[in-house]
């Protein structure tokens, strides 16, 4: 019983995290130019790369979010999302240290008015959830 209620807990966490990434992906896919500008603001990548990434990333996010929801390609999805979130957290901190005034862009222009620490806290929470899901997954691994 303990195992299955824990399973349900992880299922719910996976649903929430997957949902967040699908939502974030959809918002960014709707306005790729705005997302390209947001990536460009970090001044890490050259524009041609930033704009191509802006078209690609949202779909990857959506697919990985879906992977979490449908439990298909589950660990692959977790792997990618963890990587994405880590890169993003590092990029945000670096940008902040450089004094750049960044509009996150992760939740589209809806999150335009959030402050830096609010964003960072949310991202770290998502990162923690992803790690937790990864660690808990071998017990429920369904080969796909």
């Amino acid at each position: 019983m303990d195992l299955s209620s824990r399973n349900i807990l992880w299922r719910i966490v996976a649903l929430i995290v997957g949902g967040i990434f699908i939502y974030a992906g959809v918002i960014k896919a709707m306005d790729p130019v705005a997302f390209a500008n947001d990536i460009d603001n970090y001044k890490i990548l050259p524009w041609p790369l930033a704009v191509r990434l802006a078209f690609y990333l949202p779909w990857l996010e959506m697919l990985c979010g879906l992977a979490l929801l449908l439990r298909s390609f589950y660990r692959g999805g977790l792997f990618i999302l963890t990587g994405l979130v880590s890169i993003f957290i590092i990029a945000s901190v670096v940008a902040r240290a450089r004094g750049l005034d960044i509009t996150c862009g992760c939740f589209g222009h809806a999150s335009k008015n959030w402050n830096f620490s609010g964003h960072l806290a949310l991202d770290l929470a998502i990162f923690a959830a992803l790690i937790a899901l990864w660690i808990s997954s071998p017990r429920q691994q369904q080969e796909l």
């Binding site: 902040r96 240290a97 005034d101 402050n115 830096f116 620490s117």
Partner: protein
Amino acid sequence: MNTNFSRLIGVLALAALVQSARAELKWEQTSVDLRPAFNDKQAVAHFKYENVGNTPVHFKSVHASCGCTTAQTQNEQVAPGQKGEITATFNIGGRTGTQVKTVTVQTDDPERSSIVLTLKAVITPLLEFQPTLVYWQNGEEPKPKIITAKANKDAAIKKLDVSSSTPDFTAKVDPGSAPNEFRISVQPRDTTKAVYATLTIKPDSPANTGDMFSAAARVMPSAPASKSTLSTIRHDLATPAATAASPSQ
């Protein structure tokens, strides 16, 4: 938070200053963060210094990065052991958001002849509008368009009074979807002739400084001659008469 990062940078800068101990002029902070209230016209930063060397230091020049900031030093010459400050006064004007202004100080200290003092002010205005211009094309349906007004939450604005400079536009205010938000609905009487009006917006805040807030509403003039000629030609080609005539090839 904003402040923590700049404090960190400030501490690191201070540490760097201590390392190069041969510098004679020691600054308490070379970067100051300010959060002026919405009804402040100026933001003032105090950069305190102390001459910890044993020769006097002379300020050759104190120069701000923009005309909106004035900087003054208490004393031109700082004797050993003497303390003082450079006061930077930033005139906010109509600026909003994060503003960074610098003051460059030139001294006769050969080790550090030029020091940059940074004033960072985060300005939250009393009212912000999005957009500040609503317009209709000539002939466009005169449906109302919305200007969203966001009020500074510290001002506790309950009501906005909006008036148009000409009777060609009417404006009405409704509460917005979030607290401290208002929806200003602007509508032209008709869109057949070019009109321009300034919308004057007065908040009822008790702390109202009497500042003028304005947005603009316009009906644009009709399209230039060349454009309408082209569309007339296209229209003619599309009419049944033309299509009936052409098939006989």
